[in-house]
């Protein structure tokens, strides 16, 4: 029932303007929850629309289940789609909305009724069959859209920021439900979002896009812990970015950021010239006073966030570093002006491509 999607060298440009999507390669495995993540204008929605068949790639090939569908019209692609703002047919009842795809497939009436009932039960909307979409709340419309997409048992389910219009609480519970539903159905799901937390929470794998190009493809932990580029490190979560000249030896490379700060790097091959590294705030250990750690500084401000405290530490040379400490219940956060030493291991530093 689920299918592999292969995107091979796909580009899209409009009227010779800059490429909205630029030479994208990716393979989405059968049954995978795959997110396209990036800021607006990064090409994620255009990519999804090309998979759905609403846009034709200017170059490249899209295959689903091994079959080239690049030129197959949208209505013959057999994919379910959940739209941003749902796109429910306002002139049809919930039942008619969900039945639409089955009716197009010329399924007998009785079978349609049974399938629609099942799909509505799956999204917990039994009893809403005869309502019009305008009479439903946002969350209910969302469920109808989902039921309408899955009732046709598509090989692939496409979701274009489906949870964007919901409030935070509802969004979280829908995240769980959608993920659960996807697992139950075993369907390949392509999920477009600009919300990095959502992508990290739900995806099996994520493709981070920027300006029409793929920056990195990986599991949520890979993307977070080992970002490949400056953009990914900066876009996903908080990160401290350092840029400097490579010094030291092959066996013990180091990065000279400025006259006050030189960072020991993890051993790596092929390093040369100017390099960027990223360091996650939660990898920075703070010790009041002290010396002998990687760097010394003073607490500039402390931002108490409940489960943890986010510190802004001033280093010598007018440089700042973010450090995150878990709230261990030991009392008030460190006061501003407290001298601290900062510690991390070289392996916590991630070397980033520009």
């Amino acid at each position: 029932m689920s299918a592999r999607i292969e995107i091979v060298g796909v580009s899209k440009s409009y009227d010779g303007a800059a490429r909205a999507v630029d030479d994208i390669h990716m393979t989405i495995e059968p049954g995978e929850f795959f997110s396209l993540l990036g800021p607006s204008g990064c090409g994620k929605t255009t990519t999804l629309r090309m998979i759905a068949g609403f846009e034709m790639p200017s170059e490249g090939i899209i295959r689903v289940g091994g079959q080239d569908i690049t030129r197959v019209p949208a209505h013959k692609r057999d994919m379910g789609m959940v739209f941003q703002n749902y796109a429910l047919f306002p002139h049809r009842t919930v039942r008619e909305n969900v039945a639409f795809g089955l009716r197009m497939r010329k399924m007998p009436r009785a079978a349609i009724a049974k399938k629609v009932d099942e799909a509505l039960a799956m999204v917990a909307l039994t009893g809403f069959e005869d309502r019009m979409p305008g009479q439903l709340s946002g969350g209910q419309q969302q469920r109808v859209a989902l039921a309408r997409a899955i009732v046709i048992e598509p090989r692939v389910l496409l979701c274009d920021e489906p949870l964007g219009a919901l409030d935070k609480k509802l969004r979280q519970s829908m995240q769980f439900e959608l993920k659960q539903l996807q697992k139950t159905l075993g369907v390949t799901l392509v999920f477009v979002t600009h919300d990095q937390e959502e992508a990290l929470a739900m995806s099996d794998r994520i493709a981070v896009l920027s300006r029409g190009k793929v920056e990195q493809v990986g599991t949520p932990t890979e993307i977070y812990d080992r970002p490949a580029t400056r953009f990914v490190a900066d876009f996903i979560g908080e990160t401290n970015l350092f840029r400097g000249e490579l010094v030291g030896t092959d066996g013990a490379p180091a990065l000279r950021v400025d006259g006050h700060l030189t960072l020991a790097l993890p051993a790596a091959d092929g390093l040369s010239g100017a390099i960027s590294v990223g360091l996650r705030p939660e990898k920075v250990r703070l010790t009041p006073g002290g010396a002998g750690a990687q760097a010394q500084g003073t607490v500039e401000s402390a931002n108490f966030q409940g489960g943890h405290v986010l510190y802004r530490i001033a280093l010598a040379g007018n440089r700042h570093v973010l450090a995150q400490s878990p709230n261990d219940g030991s009392g008030a956060p460190l006061a501003a002006g407290t001298p601290v030493s900062l510690g991390w291991t070289p392996a916590d530093l991630v070397i980033l491509k520009d």
Partner: protein
């Protein structure tokens, strides 16, 4: 507080004045049609239906009424199909210069209809086609299509294209998508345009003036000719009948195909 009351009073007074200005002439026609005297008299001296008898007994008026209804029906169908298609083409076709095309489509509204009638008359003479019924319908279409284009463009302007994409995604061919989703959703605009088309055609005078053949005249032309020699309550009766017929058609269309809808006009 006082100024608020005065303001409210003035507001209501102006509203009632406008309403009276719009409706009084119609009321006078009703009085005229029901009054026994063969001239306009106020206050009325009695109530009679003899003018209606005379109107319905006149073969001349009856054939004119039937012709008017026939022309209006044909015009409504043709103008609705043409106007809605044109609006769809303008809004969706990706045609270069669609603004200019819209302006041209709407231009018959700016032009004095009498010129349209005259121009068509000369064209038909040059083409040597005589004065056929279709010629009259074409003339009426020319002045009614703009209404349909306008009202249909208005609904298309607010149309969410993702609804069509959703239908395509669910397996509907482009044709199927049009009939299942697009048409039902633009229907209120199309029907509103169709109602305009019917009324404008049914009441059409200047265009018809040039295009009817003698002895085969529409109701407004027949009324005008009658007025030239006679003035009695028959005119009033004819006016009342045509007002009621027009209202009946509008209400009928509204009830059957529906004007009000989930889509805001």
């Amino acid at each position: 507080m006082l100024s608020l009351k005065v303001g409210r009073f003035l507001y209501l007074a102006v509203n009632w004045a406008v309403l009276a200005f719009l409706l009084l002439p119609i009321l006078i026609i009703f009085v005229f049609a029901l009054n026994p005297t063969p001239y306009i008299e106020f206050p009325p001296v009695g109530v009679t239906l003899k003018w209606f008898d005379k109107f319905f007994a006149s073969p001349q008026f009856m054939s004119a009424l039937l012709l008017s209804l026939e022309v209006a029906a044909l015009t409504t169908i043709a103008a609705t199909v043409l106007g809605a298609s044109a609006a769809l083409g303008i809004a969706r076709g990706n045609v270069p210069g669609s603004r200019l095309i819209t302006a041209i489509m709407l231009s018959p509204l700016m032009l004095p209809a009498i010129l349209t009638g005259l121009a068509l008359f000369q064209t038909y003479v040059l083409m040597d086609v005589g004065r056929p019924l279709w010629g009259l319908v074409v003339g009426h279409c020319l002045v009614t299509v703009p209404y349909v284009v306008r009202t249909t463009l208005a609904v298309l302007h607010n149309f969410d294209l993702r609804l069509e994409e959703a239908a395509r995604n669910l397996g509907a061919s482009p044709q199927r998508t049009f009939f299942e989703v697009t048409l039902p959703l633009i229907k209120p605009g199309v029907i509103a345009g169709g109602i305009f088309a019917f009324i404008v055609s049914f009441d059409q005078f200047p265009v018809s003036l040039f295009l009817v053949s003698p002895g085969q005249e529409t109701l407004p032309i027949t009324l005008f000719n009658y007025l030239k020699y006679d003035l009695d309550g028959t005119i009033g009766a004819a006016s009342v009948v045509s007002i009621l017929l027009a209202a009946l058609v509008v209400i009928g269309l509204d009830r059957t195909v529906g004007l009000r809808s989930y889509v805001k006009l």
